[in-house]
C-alpha cells in the first residue's frame, strides 16, 4: 500500500469496528477526497457517516466538536493544512480545552486529518507546515507519520484516542519516499518494506518515536518527509548518524530522544516549517535540558526559512540534502 491507501485502510478498518466514527470535509464523500484518501468510504458506510461539507473550516471543526459531544468520533479532513486557520479558534479554544474547562464532563475526541508540507509546487497556500502552532496549544496531540505502515497504525491510534488529535499527512510522500533530490525520479512505496501494510486492525501507540537508523556520531531528530531526506543524506555522506523519527510531536517520546543524544553526543533537528519559534526550537531546548552534560556541540537546526513558501523557489526553501549536509558538517567539526 502507498500512504493514501494506508490512510484509507485505517479509516475503513476503524469505521467498520466503531459505528460512531464519521468522516466529513470538503469533497471527502462522493468524490473520495482530492487526494483520494476517503475513496469508497461513502459507498461502504453511507452518507450519514461520510459526507461532503460546505467550504467552511470553522464549520467543519465546530460541527465535529458538537458531534463528538454527542458521542460520535468524527474524523474531519481539512483539505490542506494551509486552510486550517479559519478553524483555529474551534481547535484552540474549543476542542483543545473542552475537557479541561468542563473538568472532564465533555470531551472532543476528534482526529483532524490534513495534508501538509511542500515539495509539490503548491506555492505558499498549499505547502505550509503549521505543526508548531498546534504543538504550542495545551490539549492537542500532534501526530505525523513518515511511511504507509506507520500512517495506518498511528491514524487508528489517533482515532481511538479520547483526546483531539491533529494528524498531519506529509503529502510529498503520499506515493513514495522523497529524499530531497527533486531532480531524481521517486520510487513508489511498493519498492519499500514499509508498504507491507496489514489489511486488518493494528495500532502504533502515540508518543513513541522510532529509531530508523542506528548510529554513533550524531542524532538526527526528524519527522514526516524529512525522515527520508535524513536517510538519503546519511547514506551519501557516510556520517554515522542515528535517525530518530519522532512520529508524535505531542506527546513527545523524550526517552528515546534523550537516550539517543546521550549516546551520540551531538544533535541536529530537522523540519520543513519556518525556523523561528518552530518545533525545532522546542526540540533544541529539550535536548539542552535533558542532555547538556553529554553534548559535544551546539544543537543545529535545519528548517525552512522564515518566509512564506515561495512557489518558483520551492527547492531553495525546502531544507534538502545540502542544508542538512552542512549542518552535519558543522556539528561534527566541534
Amino acid at each position: 500500500m502507498n500512504m493514501i491507501q494506508a490512510i484509507n485502510s485505517a479509516l475503513d478498518v476503524s469505521m467498520e469496528r466503531d459505528e460512531g466514527i464519521v468522516v466529513l470535509g470538503e469533497d471527502v464523500g462522493y468524490f473520495g477526497g482530492v487526494f483520494k484518501a476517503t475513496e469508497g468510504l461513502q459507498k461502504r458506510y453511507g452518507k450519514t457517516r461520510v459526507f461532503d461539507t460546505p467550504i467552511s473550516e470553522c464549520g467543519i471543526i465546530g460541527v465535529a466538536v458538537g458531534m463528538a459531544t454527542y458521542g460520535l468520533r468524527p474524523v474531519p479532513e481539512i483539505q490542506f493544512a494551509d486552510y486550517i486557520y479559519p478553524a483555529l479558534d474551534q481547535l484552540v479554544s474549543e476542542a483543545a480545552r473542552l475537557r479541561y474547562r468542563s473538568a472532564g464532563e465533555y470531551t472532543a475526541p476528534i482526529t483532524v486529518r490534513t495534508p501538509f508540507g511542500g515539495g509539490i509546487f503548491g506555492g505558499q497556500t498549499h505547502s505550509q507546515s503549521p505543526e508548531g502552532i498546534f504543538t504550542h496549544v495545551a490539549g492537542l496531540k500532534t501526530v505525523i507519520p513518515s511511511n504507509p505502515y506507520d500512517a495506518k497504525g498511528l491514524l487508528i491510534a489517533a482515532i481511538e484516542d479520547n483526546d483531539p488529535v491533529i494528524f498531519f499527512e506529509p503529502k510529498r510522500i503520499y506515493n513514495g519516499p522523497f529524499d530531497g533530490h527533486y531532480d531524481r525520479p521517486v520510487a513508489p512505496w511498493s519498492r519499500f518494506p514499509e508498504s507491507a501494510v496489514p489489511t486488518g486492525h493494528y495500532r502504533i501507540e502515540l508518543g513513541k518515536a522510532k529509531v530508523v537508523r542506528e548510529g554513533a556520531d550524531v542524532t538526527i531528530l526528524c519527522y514526516g518527509t524529512m525522515v527520508h531526506v535524513a536517510k538519503g543524506v546519511v547514506e551519501e555522506s557516510g556520517v554515522d548518524a542515528e535517525i530518530v523519527d519522532l512520529r508524535t510531536l505531542v506527546p513527545l517520546d523524550i526517552e528515546t530522544v534523550a537516550a539517543s543524544v546521550k549516546k551520540t553526543g551531538r544533535c541536529v533537528v530537522v523540519h520543513e516549517a519556518t525556523k523561528t519559534a518552530g518545533y525545532g526550537a522546542e526540540l533544541s531546548a529539550l535536548v539542552q535540558e535533558h542532555c547538556f552534560h553529554w553534548l559535544e556541540a551546539p544543537v543545529q537546526r535545519v528548517t525552512g526559512w522564515d518566509t512564506p513558501y515561495p512557489h518558483s523557489l520551492e527547492w531553495a526553501y525546502f531544507p534538502g540534502p545540502v542544508r542538512l549536509t552542512q549542518a552535519l558538517k558543522r556539528v561534527m567539526q566541534d
Partner: protein, 419 residues
C-alpha cells in the same frame, strides 16, 4: 477618480436612538398586535413564511390575555412553574450580583428582563434535548431544576466546584442537565449545536439541539458557518438569537439591525425564521414548541429572534449609564416578562398578588439558603487555598510526562513559597 463632478462619499456609522442625558421616547415604536401573526403548519417551507421574520409573534395582549393562533394553551401547572423559575432566576441574579460586590467572586452576569427567553424555551423543550447556551442562559439550568447550590459553587470557584475552579464564574457545564460547557469565545457553541443535532439525526435519535447567542454575536463567522451547515443538512436544531439590543456598549445597529431583523438572517439560508416578543413567555414557549416539533419531524432548523431588552448592565464590570439613556429600560414598551406573565395568571384566576409576594419571599429565601450552603465550601479567595493538584488534570485523558514534570515543579515552587 478626480474630475468627476460628484459629491464626496460619506461613511455611515450607526448611532443608537438615545444616549445618556436623552429622554427615551418610544412613541414611534410600532407595537405589533398580540395574536395578529399567523401560525404556519410545522412542515411549511421557509420560503412561505418570510413575513414571520419581519413581524413579531406576540400572545399576551396589554391586559395579559392570551390571543391568537400562537397561544400555547398551557396548563396552570406549567404556567406557574415558569413563573416560579423566572422569579427564582431573578432572585438568584440579585443575590449573586451582590455576592460579587461583596468580593465573594470576581464576576457576575445578570439576565434581568430576559428570563422568558431561556425559561419558557426550556419548558417547551424536552429535558434530554441538548442545550448549547451562551453566558446569559442561567434560566435554562434553573428551569431544569438544577441545584442552585451547584451553580453557586461554580461561581465561587470553591472546593465543591465540579469544574475545579477553572472556568470564569457563570461559565457552567452540566452534562447531567444536557447543558453544554459555556465558552467565553462568543458563538463557538453555534456550529457545535448544529453538529450535535446532525449527529442525533445521523443516529436516528429523537433528541434535538438548541443554541443561544446574543444579537451582537451574530456577526461572528461561526454564526454563519452554523447557519450554512444547519440549512444544508436540515439539522434538527433551534438557533436562538437573544436580541437584547446591546452588546456591551454597542447597540444592535453594529450587528446590522438598522438594515434588517435578526430573524431575517434565516431567509438567505432557506431556514425558517421567526421573530418573537422575547418578553412574552407564552410567545417564546409557542415559538420554541413550533420549532421543536418542526425539528423533530425532520423539517429542519429554525432561527428564532427573541426581541427583548437588557434591563441591567452587561456584567459586573460594566456601567451602562455611561452609554445609554437612564430611563430607556423603564420606558421599554414590551414591558417585563415576569410582570406580564403574572398579570396573565392572575387574569386566569389561578394566582393573586398575595401568593406572588409570598413566592418572591420564598425564592429569595431559597437562594439565601443555597448561598449559605455553598459558602461552607468557601468563596473565591479562600478557594485559592484549595489543592493545586487538579491544575494539570484533564488537559489530556492521561497526563504526559511533560505535564507531570511541570506539576512537580509547581509543587516545589509552592513548597519553597511556604504555601
Amino acid at each position: 477618480m478626480t474630475g468627476r463632478n460628484l459629491p464626496p462619499l460619506s461613511l455611515h456609522v450607526p448611532e443608537p436612538s438615545f444616549r445618556p442625558g436623552d429622554e427615551a421616547d418610544y412613541s414611534s415604536f410600532p407595537m405589533p398586535v398580540a395574536g395578529a401573526v399567523r401560525r404556519p403548519e410545522i412542515g411549511a417551507a421557509p420560503a412561505e413564511m418570510r413575513d414571520l421574520a419581519y413581524d413579531m409573534v406576540r400572545v399576551l395582549d396589554p391586559e395579559g390575555v392570551a390571543q391568537g393562533p400562537w397561544d400555547p394553551r398551557l396548563s396552570s401547572e406549567t404556567l406557574l412553574k415558569m413563573l416560579r423559575s423566572m422569579a427564582l432566576t431573578r432572585a438568584f441574579d440579585e443575590r449573586l450580583y451582590r455576592a460579587q460586590r461583596q468580593g465573594k467572586t470576581s464576576f457576575y452576569m445578570k439576565c434581568t428582563g430576559e428570563e422568558a427567553t431561556s425559561i419558557a424555551a426550556a419548558h417547551a423543550l424536552d429535558y434530554d434535548d441538548m442545550c448549547f447556551p451562551s453566558y446569559r442562559q442561567q434560566g435554562l439550568l434553573i428551569a431544569r431544576d438544577w441545584p442552585i447550590v451547584d451553580m453557586i459553587n461554580q461561581i465561587y470557584s470553591n472546593r465543591a466546584d465540579r469544574l475545579k475552579g477553572r472556568q470564569m464564574p457563570i461559565m457552567y457545564s452540566v452534562r447531567d442537565a444536557n447543558f453544554f460547557s459555556i465558552s467565553g469565545n462568543l458563538t463557538t457553541q453555534y456550529p457545535q449545536a448544529v453538529g450535535w443535532a446532525m449527529a442525533s439525526a445521523a443516529r436516528g435519535d429523537t433528541r434535538i439541539a438548541a443554541a443561544w447567542c446574543g444579537e451582537g454575536s451574530t456577526a461572528e463567522g461561526d454564526f454563519h458557518s452554523a447557519m450554512t451547515f444547519a440549512a444544508v443538512y436540515r439539522a434538527p436544531v433551534i438557533l436562538n438569537v437573544i436580541n437584547n439590543q446591546w452588546a456591551i456598549s454597542s447597540f444592535s445597529g453594529f450587528a446590522g439591525a438598522e438594515a434588517t431583523t435578526f430573524a431575517a438572517r434565516a431567509i438567505g439560508y432557506g431556514i425558517a425564521g421567526l421573530r418573537v416578543d422575547g418578553n412574552d413567555a407564552l410567545a417564546v414557549y409557542a415559538a420554541t414548541q413550533w420549532a421543536a416539533d418542526r425539528a423533530r419531524s425532520n423539517h429542519g432548523p429554525t432561527l428564532i429572534e427573541h426581541f427583548t431588552y437588557r434591563a441591567e448592565g452587561h456584567s459586573t464590570s460594566d456601567d451602562p449609564t455611561k452609554y445609554r439613556s437612564a430611563d430607556e429600560g423603564t420606558k421599554w414598551p414590551l414591558g417585563d416578562p415576569i410582570a406580564r406573565l403574572k398579570k396573565h395568571v392572575i387574569g386566569l384566576g389561578i394566582w393573586d398578588e398575595d401568593r406572588h409576594a409570598a413566592m418572591d419571599r420564598e425564592v429569595a429565601e431559597q437562594v439565601k439558603a443555597a448561598q449559605r450552603e455553598a459558602e461552607k465550601n468557601g468563596v473565591l479567595h479562600d478557594g485559592l487555598k484549595q489543592s493545586f493538584d487538579p491544575m494539570f488534570e484533564d488537559v489530556f485523558e492521561t497526563m504526559p510526562w511533560h505535564l507531570e514534570e511541570q506539576r512537580e515543579q509547581m509543587l516545589e515552587e509552592r513548597k519553597a513559597a511556604g504555601i
